[in-house]
Symmetry: D2
Amino acid sequence: MKNRSWGGRFKGVQSKEFQKFSASIDFDSKLALYDIAQNIAYAGALAKAGLLTSSELDRLERALRGIEKEIRDGKFKYREEDEDIHMNIERRLKEKTGRLGGKIHTGRSRNDQVATDTRMYVKENTKEIIRLLKNLRKAFVRQAEKHIDGFMPAYTHLQVAQPVRIAQWFMAYHEMFARDADRFADVLKRADVLPLGSGALAGNNYGIDRKFLARQLGFKAVSQNSIDAVSDRDFALDFCHAVAVMFVHVSRLAEELVIFSSREFSSVILPEEFCTGSSIMPQKRNPDLPELLRGKAGRVNGNLVNLLTLLKGLPLAYNRDMQEDKPPLFDSCEQALASIPLVTVMVKKLKFNTPLLEKRIADGFITAVDLADYLVLKGTPFREAHHIVGSVVRECEERGIRFTDLSAEDLKKHSKLFSEDIFSFVDPKKSPDRKKGIGSTSRKAIEAQILRAKKELK
Amino acid sequence: MKNRSWGGRFKGVQSKEFQKFSASIDFDSKLALYDIAQNIAYAGALAKAGLLTSSELDRLERALRGIEKEIRDGKFKYREEDEDIHMNIERRLKEKTGRLGGKIHTGRSRNDQVATDTRMYVKENTKEIIRLLKNLRKAFVRQAEKHIDGFMPAYTHLQVAQPVRIAQWFMAYHEMFARDADRFADVLKRADVLPLGSGALAGNNYGIDRKFLARQLGFKAVSQNSIDAVSDRDFALDFCHAVAVMFVHVSRLAEELVIFSSREFSSVILPEEFCTGSSIMPQKRNPDLPELLRGKAGRVNGNLVNLLTLLKGLPLAYNRDMQEDKPPLFDSCEQALASIPLVTVMVKKLKFNTPLLEKRIADGFITAVDLADYLVLKGTPFREAHHIVGSVVRECEERGIRFTDLSAEDLKKHSKLFSEDIFSFVDPKKSPDRKKGIGSTSRKAIEAQILRAKKELK
Amino acid sequence: MKNRSWGGRFKGVQSKEFQKFSASIDFDSKLALYDIAQNIAYAGALAKAGLLTSSELDRLERALRGIEKEIRDGKFKYREEDEDIHMNIERRLKEKTGRLGGKIHTGRSRNDQVATDTRMYVKENTKEIIRLLKNLRKAFVRQAEKHIDGFMPAYTHLQVAQPVRIAQWFMAYHEMFARDADRFADVLKRADVLPLGSGALAGNNYGIDRKFLARQLGFKAVSQNSIDAVSDRDFALDFCHAVAVMFVHVSRLAEELVIFSSREFSSVILPEEFCTGSSIMPQKRNPDLPELLRGKAGRVNGNLVNLLTLLKGLPLAYNRDMQEDKPPLFDSCEQALASIPLVTVMVKKLKFNTPLLEKRIADGFITAVDLADYLVLKGTPFREAHHIVGSVVRECEERGIRFTDLSAEDLKKHSKLFSEDIFSFVDPKKSPDRKKGIGSTSRKAIEAQILRAKKELK
Amino acid sequence: MKNRSWGGRFKGVQSKEFQKFSASIDFDSKLALYDIAQNIAYAGALAKAGLLTSSELDRLERALRGIEKEIRDGKFKYREEDEDIHMNIERRLKEKTGRLGGKIHTGRSRNDQVATDTRMYVKENTKEIIRLLKNLRKAFVRQAEKHIDGFMPAYTHLQVAQPVRIAQWFMAYHEMFARDADRFADVLKRADVLPLGSGALAGNNYGIDRKFLARQLGFKAVSQNSIDAVSDRDFALDFCHAVAVMFVHVSRLAEELVIFSSREFSSVILPEEFCTGSSIMPQKRNPDLPELLRGKAGRVNGNLVNLLTLLKGLPLAYNRDMQEDKPPLFDSCEQALASIPLVTVMVKKLKFNTPLLEKRIADGFITAVDLADYLVLKGTPFREAHHIVGSVVRECEERGIRFTDLSAEDLKKHSKLFSEDIFSFVDPKKSPDRKKGIGSTSRKAIEAQILRAKKELK
């Protein structure tokens, strides 16, 4: 290993197996373009500090642009014996510029270098995720607009609870993914701090202008403590958490779609393009996309745990364990990037079986709360009204009938306050609009939700 | 179970075992005072909506204050057969006010009630944690001020890396806990949304003024979608994540203190009040506090996983599984509340063994980077300088000597650029101040860090 | 703290807050009776080694029996300042026997003591869980016997797949819990190793007869290495894993019951004693028990992660972090003990809506595989048969009819091999018995499963 | 997608993005050779059931052998549009054998097929891991033999506890990895059950001889319930758990080596081939291998959590989420396979700094227990002896001396029982052999450990 950049003091030869085991180039090559950008900015800072002449800077920059092209064209040769992306690029730089290339690492350590690249990765991908979430949120809003006059039973405990406008269901998911976007914005805020210039952990001897570097690389702030700068991976934890929470939401949507598209529910029709058949059962039409998405919740959960466990109890500052931060970080990111657009198209193409759902809300005792509310408005304490309606339900169940099959006389046996006007109260399609207040399922309240969302999404 | 508030329609009797299994009163009694406050505010909103007369409101409020007193005095009788805190308080309210008490639940569901209480819990405790973190951060800053002229080796890979001022080490931890405080501030922001008024999931029929409720209960905003309002537990996930990340920091500090207080390191002396002896070995003085704190990282990690797994794949809106959100949430909160003050006192009383540490940085090759920097400043490309210093180290190791034992002649064999002035470069106590730029370990840069922190902590 | 058993060398006073933080007595008091048994056995071993006279042994044993009674009667006073259960009992022993009590800890450390108690706890509870699982398995077998002639659609992807006998569904769960029992048997095997006699970590100076101790305490083996003996918590990990896997099974059953008891499925009727109503919706009948059980999967998953994270990277031998092994271990155990009997009663009382299920299997294309099999048996390669049946399904869907609505002529357009006998092939109640081989859903195969299970459960 | 094997009934075209998202061929190609073996065995069973003529069987087998060769030679073309490994191989088989290839899937589903392949994968790799663990265990035993007369301080709480023979430390790790091997043997036992023949979930119509298949494929047993057979992933959970526990052990070893190879400890010398230098600090020699290994504990912990979360709450039988079982399973397996050999070489080449360690045990109060034991053997109750030695330690600390610096007179002030012979008791190199009983650190007890281990490892 005599060519190893760090090898001056070593006599022995590294084991081949260990070289393979410890090399990170097979995954950190994803940082290649960030590393190029960082190198270019860093060369600029070296020149500014008087460590490079302007012609040296020029040569380095040109060489780095050349390497960038090689990377983009898929022609760059990654070598395992160069360990990681940083050493691969430095090696190539030296091939292209000779001794001059040996200057690029002045005052810099891989510790601050990799922290910088990784933050650049998180920043760019977080922005992309926020953009993708915007599209997804728009899809929910559009569907809400389309379904504002459709009705469905809403569930608690997977038992029919109350009738709602279908739009309310779509907007519930909009809210979740809006929170996700907000959470990712916080991730971005905390990732937007430049560690470069911290050296191995103590800073550097050359007066590198860190604010200049931050401006060049588009960072809002520079880190305030060199030891912390190279050992901090909070931004990766925050990112993995935001992905994990988002997939909780995805998994809940997925679960509902799997259930709703069962033959027994038949509430929604999934776009056929996201279903597959069975290798043995010719009649099957399986909701594969929602199932796969639901499964991803486990994967990103595992990634977060991986990272939390990895970092637990590590002494300051950099330790080699931290190289293992990238596989879970990259995987969570890639799952998010691949999944959100598919969720978006699935939401866009989702069809509710509205005739069936209208029939379904007419059945059963879905407006039992309204019945109780009727009594309350006539002065009965709610708890008593709840009890009275409980007996009404029981009577209906025993007789095998619905609220609407009861006569006013039947009802009066339960409470004298019932009179004929009760029947408009138990009409499930009128129930939603009786709901008042911000966020409720009345047409008016939903319109306000939609309006607000559209403003945010402009 | 005929007395169950929801029991009107049920004929059977609930199994005793199931009652015990499903009751949450043994843990959600922690929400008691939030529930009282919520009930008082809600009674106000009912009155505002014309559902209570002002004298009814008065009676309810007085009764609720009475119950509050019973709770504070430890005289309130929690009953398992009342299932949860909400029904326990409602039952007591009815004992005190008769039929009138039956009005309090008008238009409200336990679904929006528990979401509201839990958010109040998270909000209050998050504020307390931020306050505790402020004290902890102050402790780091004070120690940094005290140790600004102390030196220690900083480590990477637990191998001596470079000499730093001890203050830099303290400020590294300050930065971590400052980020934690910032993260908790985001948790607070997202928890500060009132779900009350969402009813079971559809809203309510009574025109409850939700903004009034928000003002009464000190919430900044009201939730925008009733289905989402009762099914959302993101704020609990965010809280548990913030605690988990904070304990990553705690565990890293703890690990360092365990190692630093080993006899072999002897770098720090832990306050004896946080150590214990052994039941068998009379000489032992064990760093129990840092060890226990390190172990808590597993606990809060488990709580986060618990919650993420719990919520995975739940259909909307409320499901009974969600009752299980409270044990991990409460436990993470309590671990944080109990731990931060102990970390604070431990940090305050921490003593560094400065004479030993000064000796330690004089030993070895801790200023090897400075040696390389010397050559760089004389024009050698860094990568070559690094290699040259590598050979110097090897020579020293083979001869069993240190940099300072070499003569200028010895050094010149490695590079002609070495001359006498090199010896001030390899003085480990001068090395830190040679570090330039924001965040570095020079006295000046640390003073800036401290100043900035003190401003933030005012 | 002058009374601390380990305090001889300490001068300072321990912080009250730290005392509270570090005391484990509030949870390890659960080990009290194991600790008594261990103390009695250990006193015997001390006598055997000549360190106690037989009258001393007598006095100690009588005192320990007395303490045992205090514990059983709830009269034992646990003191936080005695830290843990071991020191609480030793303190009480000294109160009762004076100086003599000071001999009990001879050659023993809390390190081997707590490892022994915890293994005793795991062993006893594992046996109890295996016993409880036996009851649960019997419940499945009994239901299978009862439902051997009932039919239901089995699902993949929550889409109707093939008709099965309901017994097959019950026996599927029997298999899972049988594997759990087997896994717990392995846990027991690995927990059944006695660490006592390992001292702090090096063994003891007194020739304590460890095999004698093992016999007295019912351990199959003694540990083979004293350092490993006090630092090993594999048995706790294995136990928590076995619980976590078991709850994966519980959660799958729970999920199916929640879905099956939705109004849309109406496949099963849950015993009312395990359902609850809603505080606001009088009509609700929620499947609370399965939901709570499903939620426990998160909890025990979190416990396992807690423990794995806790132990990661701990140096040998005992570290105080390991005190935190007990909360997750105890919690997983208690969740298992509380849940299995409830699952058992729920399974016992479960009712399938067989008339509806018979109707359901008659609907749709549930026997599509059988249709393909028909063609295969007449010589068509399966893949072609699958394709042909796919077209038949499509035709039916387009015409809005079922297989049985097609004429033989219709079918012949798809393949000439179809003739009149096809209609018995597509009879969904005949399909199961056409399935051959071990483990299949034919009556004969299920009878074999049941027979086998009953033999195992004898 | 008209060529999809399951496509007969589908009209639409699958989205390209979804195809990419849902294809598993990029990871399940690792099952290729198992799938070939399974196909060959299955063709045999089809022939035995009269569904293939012997010449058809011949042709299929030859074609499959050809495909196997293509796979081994890296010439097999995996196509994403064929979704998974099973369909890729079936497609190729049809290319080679035409219509005949369409017969291979008769009575089989991908559900039982993938369960079978995955079990074959787990079985083979588990055997390999057990083999690798055997080598690792041998390395510990050999080092123990070599170091039977070396001494080191053993630690609790990272504080010097008692002197042990270095062999005892090596054998502690032997015990851990012996338990791992035992745990993997249980994994193997539970994985060794053949699901093939279960069809989609109900069994098959053709009388496939499942015991014949088991014999052909080397399975000990066949699954007993067809629904369970296709939905069971316990074996994957058990495997991932066994890997996670093993890495807890690896991480503990790694942690100790990182600490022991710090300059402050200098207890061990890591083979240079497993260390790397720093890109900036020329003097560094970092313990990279142990650090990377320690980090893997997070990774495999995450994999287990992934799988547990994935499976939580899935209804029976197969769901597409389960496709996501393979990435964590394969990753845990690969981490184990890559890591154990490196741990083995590292252990083999590990050097203890025995002169320094001998000096270290002579220092301090490492034999304090022995001092107490001395008093106990003269009749002092242990608790008093412990207290007395505590005061001796305190006196020494105050005077800045060691036990051996005290005179007999000094000691007598603490207890009259001390006399001259005490000094042989406090000789740290004599202490270990005074430890008696199985598993202790005396030479004799260690020899017994080694003998026992060697027998097991034969």
